[in-house]
Symmetry: none
DNA sequence: TATGAATGAGCGTTCATTCAT
DNA sequence: TATGAATGAACGCTCATTCAT
């Protein structure tokens, strides 16, 4: 895990059934998608779907878990690469968030959108994962403030602003558009640096 | 309209049925909410609901239209108050967005969340309203850049970042929390100023 | 309740929907009957069925409760009529059981057949009602033995034999057959008297 | 066949798959048991089940046929042992029925419970077997009445009472209880003798 | 023999909506 | 205005069964 290439999004690790489900859930939402629609999208019969997953809910849970886990592992790898330099920590963290939301647009969109559709246990797990992500950024902001590198009054408020900003990418990014994930990530890193008073 | 007090959120103009509907849609989503649930939440019988609205869809449409219209009128009023000062234009615009997303938390949340649940015609209308909002901010950013007041490379990208940042408020703001809408708005104005290179 | 006419089976107190359900459940069993079949038998659409009952299970529960309650109230009335004469107590009790299983053939059949199809709570209630019935007879047998009127070694074993004997009526009785409920009941009373050593 | 030891229930002739099926059918009924449940109970995969039996229905049919055949052969052997003594004929017949319903509790329970779950052809066969059993007892009762040994008015009614009485054993008998099959059978023989006016 | 993977049909239930009153 | 009663269509899911391997 330590040697993970967190900037590499070439192979999509999702099994094909889940990839179809992601597309369909993004288009119509969890409650707006029927199991028949999911099955058709995956080229399966309805019972075929249930052979692979115990329930509709199990499908969205698998998606959420994979999404949160993927982002978390990339974030840790980025953090490790940054070493002790807090400015670099912030830069790589935002770069990681932005790349993830651009490259894994649909997955990231679901992860932030369908939290409320989960049943209690899975919801608690996903919320914990989301909070874990948030605290990673808050810690960076606080460290930078402590060291005098950042001008940050309320770290948790700013963290939320930064995170929603990046989340937004998954709402409008299109591979057909003029911007590449890399250039977007660079821009967002600069945004973040301005927000903490650098630059 | 020109003399509207865009900072005043005292009276909630929503009729009680719609207010109940907003709460329920926020909790479970449009497709996750049944008409029975809506009727029960509003203290009505099912046919009673249909006396007031032609369909479930008509309810979410009314909500979306009211939300977009309220924000739009406040935005115009803020813009008028700012006059020709582009820094003030940006400040009041962001203040207006932030106040709206804090004071009209649930309404704003629905407006950004349930776009995909609308039928084509209503969806087109809401998307147009969303874009209109976005262009208002883009124009401000471009004007500031033209005048040399702002350091903005890609105005539309930054506008989206600013807007999603503010949208985020509606996801985590709570009246029970330590922050008032006013102080949040002030903070977000400062964020915006930093993002355009002021401060 | 004390003045109930326990020999009178003229009016069937079941609402029409339940009467249809009884017939269908008798023919195919609870698990062998679909809600669509029930609805069709009752001349309703499927949601129409669910307007009156919360679930398929609620229907069988209503039937079981009505059956057990009806038999119990008749049994108490018969017991009251018998006064302190233990021979009469036995006679009227068996007469009551036999009349019930002949006149309420299908209802009685379900009550003894579908116990295992009930969910735990309802099952416990029905089992308690069945046991209550059984203990009423056991007490009569024990009283008769104590007073030297009956020659009974194992009262609870004999009670079960008597009860299953009567239960059997609901399996073969037909109003088209040559025997009337009244004559059957008389015969079964004589069976019971022989079994306790009278006659 | 004539030298069969009809009192011996030591070895259960059922193949293991059928024995598991009997247990499951008794617990949940034929329609309440899925083929998946059957396969799991037998430690087989679903296609493994279908290797041994052509269908779910074929399983219950095999069970019913074995049950009816076993009881029939024992009844004939008991009858042969009794010779021409009609009192002994009745005694051994009832002993045979009681022993069977206690020793083959579950099998006997299914035979009387799941008749309605069979498809027409198999159902007709099982009903014929049941009637054949019944006529054997009716004939004994009539013979006893003709010879003046029994005081029986309606032989077929009494036969049904006796048979359901014995059938009841399979509903409440437990090997963990205080009574042995043998003592139960003795008691039921005495019941029968009383019912025909002996003793 | 044995099983992973699949399916058409049907399950119990709920959906948004309507209508007679 | 208001509602008890109803419905066609669809929901999530499971049924008994099959087939390629």
């Amino acid at each position: 895990m330590g040697e993970m290439d967190w900037r590499n999004f070439e192979q999509d690790s999702l099994p094909p059934l889940l990839r179809c489900a992601v597309k369909t859930f993004v288009a119509h939402g969890y409650h707006g998608t029927s199991t028949r629609t999911l099955a058709r999208a995956a080229g399966l019969s309805l019972p075929g779907l249930y052979y692979h997953f115990a329930s509709k809910h199990a499908i969205i849970v698998a998606i959420m878990d994979l999404a949160m886990d993927d982002l978390w592992r990339r974030s840790l790898a980025a953090h490790a690469e940054a070493g002790d330099d807090v400015v670099l920590q912030l830069g790589l963290h935002i770069q990681c968030l932005a790349l993830f939301h651009a490259h894994r647009r649909e997955l990231a969109f679901l992860a932030s959108t369908e939290l409320r559709s989960l049943e209690p246990e899975a919801q608690a797990r996903s919320i914990a994962a989301r909070d874990r992500q948030e605290y990673l950024l808050i810690d960076i902001l606080r460290l930078g403030a402590t060291r005098g590198a950042f001008d940050v009054a309320d770290a948790s408020q700013l963290a939320r602003a930064l995170i929603t900003m990046c989340t937004g990418i998954s709402q409008w990014f299109s591979t057909a558009g003029p911007l590449s994930p890399g250039s977007i990530a660079n821009d967002y890193v600069r945004y973040a640096q301005r927000l903490v008073g650098l630059v």
